[in-house]
């Protein structure tokens, strides 16, 4: 796995914050470490993204971010996809970002399989039954 220099991480941080800035109570990309430990974590999980990601940051030095990223999106789709996947993937794995968007993760909510569902008690399912069968029978063809 690549070792990114502080300068490379700083450049990527600028790009990441342009894609995901702070907004209302939601943190910016760099404030949850997208360019630090989360970059390493994402590329540990997805080493296949590394080459295209490196191409993206090499091509976008952060002088005119809007111009650089728009050009990247149009001219090197793989690099653009790697950049946005690394950024959103890293961001949404952090506890801070998940808390800010109200996402508990793929947890297992408790449920009672024997509880009568609302669509039964309010009559919705009965209305489907009352309309009767909708399939075409074929017994006459056998």
């Amino acid at each position: 796995m690549a070792n990114f220099s502080d300068a490379e991480r700083e450049i990527y941080g600028k790009l990441a914050d342009y894609l995901i800035p702070s907004w209302k109570d939601r943190p910016a990309a760099t404030s949850v470490g997208v360019h630090r430990h989360m970059l390493d974590e994402v590329l540990r999980i997805r080493p296949d993204l590394e080459a295209a990601f490196q191409r993206a940051i090499a091509r976008c030095p952060g002088q005119d971010i809007s111009k650089e990223l728009n050009a990247l999106a149009r001219e090197d789709n793989a690099a653009w996809t790697a950049l946005t996947t690394v950024t959103t993937g890293g961001y949404m794995m952090t506890d801070e970002a998940r808390a800010a968007v109200g996402y508990p993760g793929q947890v297992a909510p408790p449920y009672d399989p024997n509880e009568t569902p609302e669509y039964v008690t309010n009559g919705m399912l009965d209305r489907v039954k009352a309309r009767g069968p909708i399939f075409r029978d074929t017994r006459h063809l056998s």
């Binding site: 995901i20 569902p117 039954k129």
Partner: protein, 546 residues
């Protein structure tokens, strides 16, 4: 020189749902059965669904397309001339390790499309002959659901209660209710209570990356463990290079395979049953040439590899004001509808589609609402990133329900599987190429259904909708490449999945389906395999073996 192991009564090639049902029934009947599976065993603990990185891993290691995963156990497929990318998994349990668990039996009309609609071909048997086998396999897969769906003829109930449909399913149902359209709580191959060694569905919503709860049914969890008690032998990591045909006997006698260590071996058997999916099965047959079958085994009709069907698949998403917690599952269907399933020629196409109501998924799925492709039309990234990305997440993530539309694909001989001239797998075995074009009927079908699905979303109160018509990476259901029929010139197999050409060669996977219906096929796949295996057990003494 290949090493030959002891002869078995039956050799099964492929360990997905059809192979698993077959192995269970035949071993219980006292036959010695060996299954060769190109993939290896997965441990549910390795599935990413309960880990933070699950969506990132789903983009590569757990991607459903073998061409994307590119693992040593996958075989490459040349798809340069295909509109659709085929999806599958190489593992004990086959693609059912990563299926969504949607249990949608075919309808009576699906077996009679020539008689009813004047298209394609009728099946050599009908729905009512399959029904008792369907009821049997619904118990095997520990299904959960609600009895009494007026979309189907009356049938027995399901072994475990309905899994909650959640806020997203309820929202979709409300839209259908307002329009007076058919809907029904989702029937899934996963129990809601502990059942037959499977855990209850935990509603994590990550079925399609493997079920870390060991709840969703897959062959490795249940049937192969049961079959082992009766002496079934699974050889994992065994990649079949060819089926052995004896020109003197006019019978198949086994298969040559490459084991995990790269050694060439033989497994001899009195009967060979292919269950390797509608690309893998014709690949093996076309790679198995002999003096009598220079164009591939069991191919006197010239139809091996022909009539490849892949259901046209579209998504319609509704984005709602309310928080639907739409990351919860199951990814098995929450609800479904058959409202527009049957043919109405006034719509401008024949046959129809089933819609499966599902949740919007995890946060990276929300990135899919933006996508990369939007920038190809002179848009600017700022339209979707920066503050607009936060606004998109705020308005759509957790607030999206979707209809997954599975339409019927009619068979066409020009849609086919061939052997690629150059491509090989990691063992050097020639790899397949598929040639597939989406038909005009399929395009019209998807357009019509997408419009109706949008109407239902709007009736449910969606503040906006998004449509993803005919996605390329949507070849979940592969069918038709060695089809059954009564005429040996027009089909490869008879009604029991037995080769017209070779009496001890059978095919029980989706390759055998003459038509594909407009529904997820696993329920009918397993029911038909149950029928065929039951027949084989009953007629075993009469089968002309090697």
């Amino acid at each position: 020189m290949a090493r030959a192991d002891q002869e078995a009564d039956v050799l099964i090639i492929g360990s997905g749902p059809s192979g698993a049902v077959t192995a269970k029934l035949l071993t219980e009947a006292g036959m010695s059965v060996v299954t060769l599976e190109q993939g290896t065993w997965f441990d549910p603990g390795d599935y990413p669904g309960d880990k933070k990185e699950f969506e990132l891993a789903a983009g590569k290691q757990w991607h459903p397309a073998p061409n994307v995963r590119d693992r040593e156990r996958d075989y490459p497929i040349n798809t340069s001339e295909s509109d659709v990318e085929p999806l599958m998994q190489s593992a004990v349990g086959g693609s059912a390790t990563i299926w969504a668990g949607h249990w949608v039996p075919f309808l009576p009309s699906d077996f009679k499309v020539r008689s009813l609609d004047g298209v394609a071909v009728d099946w050599p048997f009908d729905y009512y002959e399959v029904l008792p086998h369907l009821e049997a396999v619904e118990k095997l897969v520990s299904s959960s659901g609600t009895r009494g769906n007026p979309g189907y003829p009356e049938q027995a109930g399901y072994p475990t209660p309905q899994i909650p449909i959640g806020k997203a399913g309820m929202k979709l149902a409300e839209g259908m209710d307002k329009l007076g359209w058919h809907w029904w709580p989702g029937l899934n191959a996963m129990p809601s209570i502990p059942w037959q060694g499977q855990n209850p569905c935990a509603r994590r919503g990550t079925c399609m990356f493997g079920c870390p709860e060991a709840a969703k049914w897959s062959p490795d969890l249940v049937l192969f463990k049961e079959a082992k008690k009766y002496g079934h032998r699974m050889i994992a990591g065994a990649r079949v290079s060819e089926i052995i045909y004896d020109d003197n006997l006019s019978r198949v006698t086994g298969a040559v395979y490459i084991d995990q260590n790269g050694r060439e071996r033989k497994q001899m058997a009195k009967i060979v049953i292919l269950c390797a999916n509608a690309i893998g099965t014709p690949r093996i047959l076309l790679n198995s040439k002999s003096k009598r079958f220079p164009d591939g085994l069991a191919n006197s009709s010239g139809l091996v590899g022909r009539n490849l069907m892949m259901h046209p698949f579209g998504l319609v998403m509704g984005h709602f004001e309310e928080n639907l917690e739409s990351w919860y599952g199951p990814s098995g269907q929450l609800i479904n509808t058959l409202q527009f399933y049957e043919t109405d020629e006034s719509r401008g196409f024949v046959r129809g589609a089933k819609w499966g109501g599902m949740s919007g998924g995890g946060p990276l799925s929300s990135k899919g609402f933006v996508g990369s492709e939007v920038f190809s039309d002179n848009g600017r990234i700022e339209d979707h990133w920066g503050e607009n990305w936060h606004k998109m997440i705020e308005s759509k993530f957790g607030r999206t329900a979707l209809w997954a539309i599975v339409g019927e694909d009619l068979p066409e001989e020009s849609n086919r599987v061939e052997i690629d001239a150059d491509l090989v797998d990691s063992d050097g075995i020639p790899a397949p190429k598929i040639i597939y074009k989406t038909s005009e009927n399929s395009r019209r079908l998807l357009d019509f259904h997408a419009e109706r699905a949008k109407e239902s979303m709007e009736a449910a109160g969606a503040k906006s909708t998004s449509v993803a018509p005919q996605m390329r990476e949507s070849g979940w259901h592969l069918l038709g490449t060695t089809r059954m029929g009564n005429d040996p010139k027009e089909s490869v197999l008879n009604q029991y999945g037995q080769s017209h050409d070779i009496p001890n060669l059978f095919i029980f996977d989706l390759s055998a389906f003459p038509t594909g219906a407009g529904a997820n096929p696993t329920a009918t796949l397993m029911a038909v395999a149950h029928r065929q295996a039951t027949h084989l057990v009953n007629e075993a003494r009469n089968v002309e073996v090697a």
